[in-house]
């Protein structure tokens, strides 16, 4: 390929690596329970949305996931609520997380779908395992679409859409972040 192609190909690589590093570092903050620092990775205007999956006829895909801003969702909120969740866990009196769960956030298949201006859109797959107390195990599996916005202090999550594959949640709680 031409030198120019090569350069832009390498630029794409650098961006890919930056995004993957961002997601890995984010996962570490969550698994190490450094939730305050995690909040700093979220844009102040973040929309954090996890719809509920429904079983519908093959030709009605639009019905499959509950709609943002109008239907019931697992999560459909902004940074204010996310901050409250962090404050709740921090106190050691949020019994659903006291003692703390041991979580592993695994992010894979990161693919940058596009970048325009300051924003990068990335698709990924996740497996989040949460172990707590002696025997409890929860497994959360699905897909994520992130819009990352670049600012003076690097990338921030501007929008996160989380598609959880479960319909009836087989766990009692969703106390972990995705």
């Amino acid at each position: 390929m031409t030198a120019a192609d090569r350069t832009s190909a390498l630029d794409a690589l650098l961006l890919q690596a930056e995004v993957e590093r961002f997601f890995s570092a984010e996962a570490e903050l969550l698994d190490e329970r450094r939730f305050e620092e995690w909040l700093d990775l979220l844009h102040d205007d973040i929309r954090y949305w996890m719809p509920i999956a429904r079983n519908v006829r093959f030709n009605q895909p639009a019905l499959e996931y509950t709609r943002e801003h109008s239907e019931a969702n697992w999560f459909d909120e902004g940074k204010d609520i996310l901050r409250k969740r962090v404050q709740q866990i921090a106190g050691g009196d949020h019994w659903a997380e006291e003692p703390r769960s041991r979580t592993t956030h695994l992010v894979a298949n990161v693919r940058i779908e596009g970048a325009n201006g300051a924003d990068v859109t990335a698709k990924s797959r996740f497996i989040v395992c949460a172990f707590r107390l002696e025997h409890d195990v929860d497994l959360f599996v699905g897909k994520r679409i992130d819009v990352l916005r670049r600012g003076d202090d690097g990338l921030k999550v501007l929008r996160r859409t989380i598609y959880l594959d479960q319909s009836v949640l087989l766990s009692r709680n969703l106390t972990t972040f995705f």
């Binding site: 996890m50 719809p51 509920i52 429904r54 079983n55 519908v56 006829r57 009605q60 019905l63 509950t66 709609r67 801003h69 109008s70 239907e71 019931a72 969702n73 697992w74 999560f75 459909d76 909120e77 609520i81 409250k84 969740r85 404050q87 709740q88 106190g91 009196d93 949020h94 019994w95 659903a96 319909s167 009836v168 949640l169 087989l170 766990s171 009692r172 709680n173 969703l174 106390t175």
Partner: protein, 435 residues
């Protein structure tokens, strides 16, 4: 253990095996759930003819459908040929249901309309009219849909009783006091909890006492008033009296408060000006419409055995579906005022999502505690030490006859386990009594 020892109403104690014994669980299915009316959904989920959704009637999978004549049907979702569910979509619009196994087809009302090879090979042997989907008895009460497969059970209104009709109707009134004032928002929240279904029942029935479960969220402000605490009404200055209301003969229970005087609107839903204004107007309309009765604020309750509702600014209805003694599936319907502006509906919706269910900052701690308490119910040594329901024992009384609080019900003011005792007394009669 002897069933007669399950409960000691005088001592105010209940055996832990009530929560952990699979044998008692099987009796519950037979004696508590089978002969009961169950909430299965709301008319706002069936806007057009042909609309349907899947639900549960106790343990039973059902289709709730609206047919060509606009009638609402509750059908056992199981083909009469080999049991296959003819409907496998959570929701949709259809003209009928075709079973994917051998192709028997049913109408929206459950009628068996089509049978492959009917003429050639059944030759009149198959009485088609007798082999439609099993139809439940249905009652629509101020927009809520109720069903049972028990033919001998009294009508739903009698099952509720006069007083509970009043309370359930009140629950379904919009913030302005108008009947059937709510609609369901799309998406039923469904999840499972590894605990016995009655931990939920007694919590919704009248557990004013578990504040300690929620100290983490009480530190924060999650309500609409902007005030610290999880409840909107925490902002209201008008003094009120908490009370537990129970129908001992039927097992239904209500958590409520009564304001000592007509309450002033204190912006308890003051999340934004628009929302604030809406609720202020509703508040006034409600006082005008209901007068003295507007002093009543229902917090929630249980229609026996497992239909739970919340109110007091969060109108939700939940089903606690028994899977086993130690596991329960919960379905939760979220309601918003039918005529409210979008901003109000959306504000309420966000409040529900951060409050209730597995992602709810409040109910997460309930779920954790119920799950842990279930382990205690399973302790073998523990079986020698019953649970304690003595809170405010001996302080209940018949509601003042003739007064609008009802005269079939009994009441305890302030924090109490009055409703739990009433719930379990009725429950134990069914489980342990002659059948």
């Amino acid at each position: 253990m002897r069933l007669a020892d399950l409960i000691d109403n005088d001592a105010g104690t209940l055996s832990r095996e009530s929560f952990s014994s699979e044998e008692i669980f099987r009796r519950e299915l037979d004696r508590v759930f089978a002969p009961s009316w169950n909430f299965v959904g709301h008319t706002s989920q069936l806007a057009r003819d042909g609309d349907f959704f899947l639900s549960r009637c106790g343990t039973e999978p059902v289709i709730v459908s609206r047919d060509e004549r606009g009638a609402i049907n509750v059908l056992l979702n199981s083909c009469r040929h080999r049991g296959m569910p003819p409907c496998r979509y959570d929701t949709g619009n259809a003209t009928g249901f075709i079973c994917s196994y051998h192709g028997w087809s049913y109408g929206l009302d459950g009628a068996l309309n089509g049978v492959p090879k009917f003429k050639e090979r059944y030759q009149g042997k198959l009485e088609r009219e007798k082999w439609g989907l099993v139809r439940a008895r249905v009652c629509v009460f101020h927009g809520s849909i109720w069903a049972t497969f028990d033919e001998r059970l009294p009508a739903f209104e009698d099952y509720l009783g006069t007083d509970m009709q009043f309370y359930l109707r009140a629950l379904l009134q919009g913030p302005d006091g108008e009947d059937d004032g709510y609609e369901v928002i799309g998406g039923i929240v469904k999840w499972q909890v590894p605990c016995n279904w009655k931990f939920g029942a007694e919590n919704f029935a009248g557990d004013h006492y578990h504040g300690y479960s929620h100290i983490s969220v009480e530190r924060l402000s999650v309500g609409l008033s902007g005030k610290t605490s999880r409840h909107n009404f925490a902002a209201v200055k008008t003094p009120r009296q908490a009370m537990s209301v129970a129908d001992p003969r039927r097992g239904h229970t209500i958590r409520a408060s009564v304001y000592k005087e007509l309450a002033v609107y204190d912006a308890q839903e003051g999340a934004s000006d628009e929302v604030n204004e809406y609720y202020r107007r509703c508040h006034e309309a409600r006082q005008k419409r209901l007068g003295d009765k507007s002093r009543l604020m229902i917090h929630g309750g249980v229609i026996f055995p497992n239909t739970h509702f919340n109110s007091a600014g969060r109108t939700t209805i939940g089903l606690w579906l028994p899977l086993s003694a130690g596991r329960t599936e919960i379905w939760r319907w979220l309601f918003v005022p039918r005529n409210a502006p979008h901003a109000v509906k959306d504000t309420l919706r966000e409040y529900y999502l951060r409050y209730a269910g597995p992602a709810g900052m409040v109910e997460q701690d309930d779920m954790e505690n119920w799950t842990a308490a279930q382990r205690g119910a399973e302790s073998l040594v523990g079986h020698r030490y019953p649970f304690n329901y003595q809170l405010a024992m001996g302080l209940s009384r018949r509601a003042r006859a003739g007064e609008w609080l009802g005269d079939e019900v009994t009441i305890t003011e302030d924090v109490a386990e009055h409703n739990q005792r009433a719930f379990y007394a009725h429950w134990a009669n069914l489980v342990a009594g002659e059948s």
